[in-house]
């Protein structure tokens, strides 16, 4: 753990300032301020509906925010398509339901974006893809279709698919919550490995073991606000806010 934490640099990867977002008239994100350094690994938790997913999705412009600014890797997220494209090609994202493309093989899933977005030659893209598939330990499944894999394998493919774009930042939105308990572990292992290599990560998850092991910082959100943030040890052992305490008691309860 300490080894991983050492890799945090002073360079800034993401800056979010005074960001607000509404769905219609519903105020989902309120005055979010967050700075993420390069190499930092942040776990976001909080009750359902607190806006965790929305926050993550604002970062790579899957949702528009209405106020405040988001800067990723020095690029300001504006309505300019070029900026959006730039940010998306730097930021990888993994979803709760994997969202693999069922009509393409695993290998095709992984090479699609490099070929069409990065304009990598197919051969090279396939080599890269195989490299990352090996990293997530399923190179032998490359020719299969997503439907033929188990949930855990699918999620690892999803991670590999993001990695193939060589992102500098990875976002995870509850990557393990749709998985059977047996499979959770294999996905978490992959994520830990990634973390140890120093990837900047923002991860929405309720896997507290994971948070303890790899996170530099845990953020607790409620009702669209960041209520508390701290280092994992301090966060779990000594939560400051009442809401955090309540939440932790429920999560760790049964």
């Amino acid at each position: 753990m300490s080894e991983a934490q050492m890799k945090v640099s002073d360079e800034i990867a993401i800056t979010i300032e005074n960001m607000n977002k509404w769905y219609g008239t519903f105020h989902v994100l309120r005055d979010i301020n967050l700075t993420v350094n390069r190499g930092e690994r942040i776990v976001i938790c909080g009750p359902s509906g607190s806006g965790k997913s929305t926050l993550i999705r604002c970062i790579n412009a899957l949702e528009e925010h209405q106020q405040g600014s988001i800067e990723v890797d020095g690029t300001l997220l504006s309505s300019d398509l070029k900026n959006i494209d730039k940010i998306r090609s730097e930021v990888g994202m993994c979803f709760q339901h994997f969202n693999l493309f069922p009509h393409l093989t695993i290998l095709e899933n992984c090479t699609l974006a490099p070929i069409w977005v990065r304009k990598t030659p197919k051969k090279e893209a396939e080599e890269i893809a195989m490299h990352f598939l090996e990293k997530v330990k399923i190179p032998d499944q490359a020719g299969k279709y997503p439907g033929q894999l188990s949930g855990g394998q699918q999620q690892r493919v999803a991670i590999a698919r993001s990695l193939c774009m060589k992102p500098r930042i990875m976002l995870f939105d509850e990557p393990t919550s749709a998985l059977d308990p047996e499979m959770i572990k294999e996905v978490l292992d992959t994520m830990i490995e990634l973390a140890e290599e120093g990837m900047t990560m923002l991860c929405v998850t309720h896997e507290m073991g994971f948070a303890r092991q790899v996170a530099n910082r845990v953020i607790f959100m409620d009702q669209g606000q960041i209520v508390e943030q701290n280092e994992p040890e301090a966060f779990f052992n000594n939560p400051q806010s009442e809401r955090t305490q309540l939440f932790l008691s429920q999560i760790l309860g049964h």
């Binding site: 999705r57 790579n60 899957l62 494209d85 998306r88 090609s89 930021v91 990888g92 994202m93 979803f95 339901h97 994997f98 969202n99 693999l100 493309f101 069922p102 009509h103 699609l112 974006a113 069409w116 977005v117 304009k119 279709y145 997503p146 439907g147 033929q148 698919r161 993001s162 774009m165």
Partner: protein, 432 residues
């Protein structure tokens, strides 16, 4: 907790009880009939009623069909042969066979051309309908329109070759540019194709058609079941790309584009096909420049294509809506742009889901091609109702002709719908 209870609880089985056949499985037809036909008194009654109805239908029709006369030159000759017995006069089918299939004006010596085109049709659609076939066969599908056009209409081979070359060049241009920008590729491809066509069109010598290998046949001379097939196949295949565009437009977040599509779709779906055919036959020619050579066949194709495009758009919209939102988001988050996401991710899946629906629309449309008989085109039904029944020899031969038409449509439509059901089952199990 009582002791007794605790003792009775623990139990371990060490050996496996072997699987054994079910008891008293009386099998055989008697049991089957008892279970499936005479299970209850009400069921027995239903069975008897059904048997009686089958008898009622078969009793008169079977002798009629079995006594059928296949060789005669007119109805009265048939009647002489039958000599008062009940029997069909299928001779009308054998005598008018080519007319039923090709209409009465298609030159008899060229019947092999549409027949060949028809046979090739199977080769062309097979790779589209059955995913397991090698993808290379799609080349045949791509070439088919040009071959079929040349076979059926004849004329100089330069025209289809030019069309093919135009498409080829367009596709090449598209391939060249699409990687950088979809719009550039798409419009560039279309522009390139048009340039080739207009340049080449100027080069085709005047009167090349007259001396051509295949004598030209004007579209007015098409008729019979061939006309139904051609209208069906042409309109459905033309309407799929239009339907896709309409469906995407209707899903669009841009209000003007969305509303154009909505109005078009709802308008077309709101009026009967007949009125659209009236438009084709009595109105549409006013909308073209006077010297344009848009003949009735082409106008009908335009209207039926619009008609089926609207329905196919709705089917595809269903397919698009059935895709989980995550697919769009995943594509976005990988940095694909709209055109790429649609082309690589969304449409391949949505179309696959939509195929059964599209096939259903196609079957419906194929059936509806009979309506062209109302605007005096001589498709199968038009041939029967017009020239054949009106002729002196066959005046009054209804059942054989109508039965034949019904049978022909049934075979085709039932075949297609069986395919679509097979496909639905297959898609349901595909990829787990």
């Amino acid at each position: 907790m009582s002791d007794l209870h605790a003792n009775s609880v623990a139990f371990v089985r060490t050996e496996t009880i072997p699987e054994s056949p079910p008891p008293g499985v009386a099998s055989g037809p008697i049991k089957w009939m008892r279970e499936n036909l005479f299970a209850t008194p009400a069921n027995t009654l239903l069975t008897l009623v059904a048997i009686y109805m089958i008898y009622l239908i078969l009793a008169p029709t079977m002798p009629w069909i079995l006594n059928g006369v296949w060789n005669a030159n007119s109805l009265s000759e048939c009647r002489e042969i039958l000599n008062g017995k009940s029997g069909a006069c299928f001779a009308v089918l054998s005598e008018r066979w080519p007319q039923l299939l090709f209409g009465f004006k298609y030159p008899a010596e060229y019947y092999w051309r549409p027949t060949l085109a028809f046979v090739l049709l199977f080769a062309a659609v097979a790779p589209v309908l059955f995913f397991d076939l090698p993808r290379k066969l799609l080349v045949m599908t791509a070439l088919y329109p040009f071959i079929a056009f040349w076979l059926i209409w004849g004329g100089t081979i330069l025209v289809p070759i030019l069309a093919l070359v135009g498409c080829g060049v367009g596709y090449a241009v598209y391939q060249r540019f699409v990687a950088s920008n979809f719009a550039a590729g798409f419009f560039g491809g279309i522009a390139a194709a048009f340039i080739v066509w207009s340049l080449g069109g100027a080069m085709i010598p005047e009167g090349a058609s007259e001396a051509a290998m295949l004598q030209p046949v004007p579209s007015r001379d098409l008729g019979g079941f061939m006309l139904n097939m051609m209208l069906g196949v042409t309109c459905v295949s033309l309407s799929i790309p239009i339907g896709i565009a309409l469906a995407l437009g209707r899903q669009s977040s841009m209000p003007i584009i969305k509303w154009i599509c909505v109005v078009f779709i709802e308008f077309i779906r709101g009026v009967p096909l007949i009125t659209l055919l009236f438009v084709a036959s009595v109105m549409l020619s006013y909308f073209f420049p006077p010297d344009s050579s848009v003949d009735l066949f082409l106008r009908v194709v335009i209207m039926i294509t619009m008609f089926s495009a609207a329905y196919i758009a709705e089917v595809i919209r269903g397919g698009l809506a059935a895709l989980p939102k995550g697919q769009y988001e995943a594509a976005d988050s990988l940095g694909l742009d709209y055109a790429q996401a649609m082309r690589l991710i969304i449409l391949p899946q949505a179309l696959k889901i939509s195929i059964p629906g599209i096939v259903n629309v196609a079957v419906g449309l194929f059936k509806d091609t009979t309506l062209v008989s109302v605007i005096s085109m001589f498709d199968l039904v038009g041939m029967i109702r017009g020239p054949i029944l009106a002729s002196t020899e066959w005046n009054g031969v209804y059942w054989e002709l109508l039965g034949f038409a019904a049978l022909l449509f049934f075979v085709v439509c039932y075949g297609i719908s069986q395919y679509s059901q097979w496909l639905e089952r297959r898609l349901a199990t595909d990829h787990r």
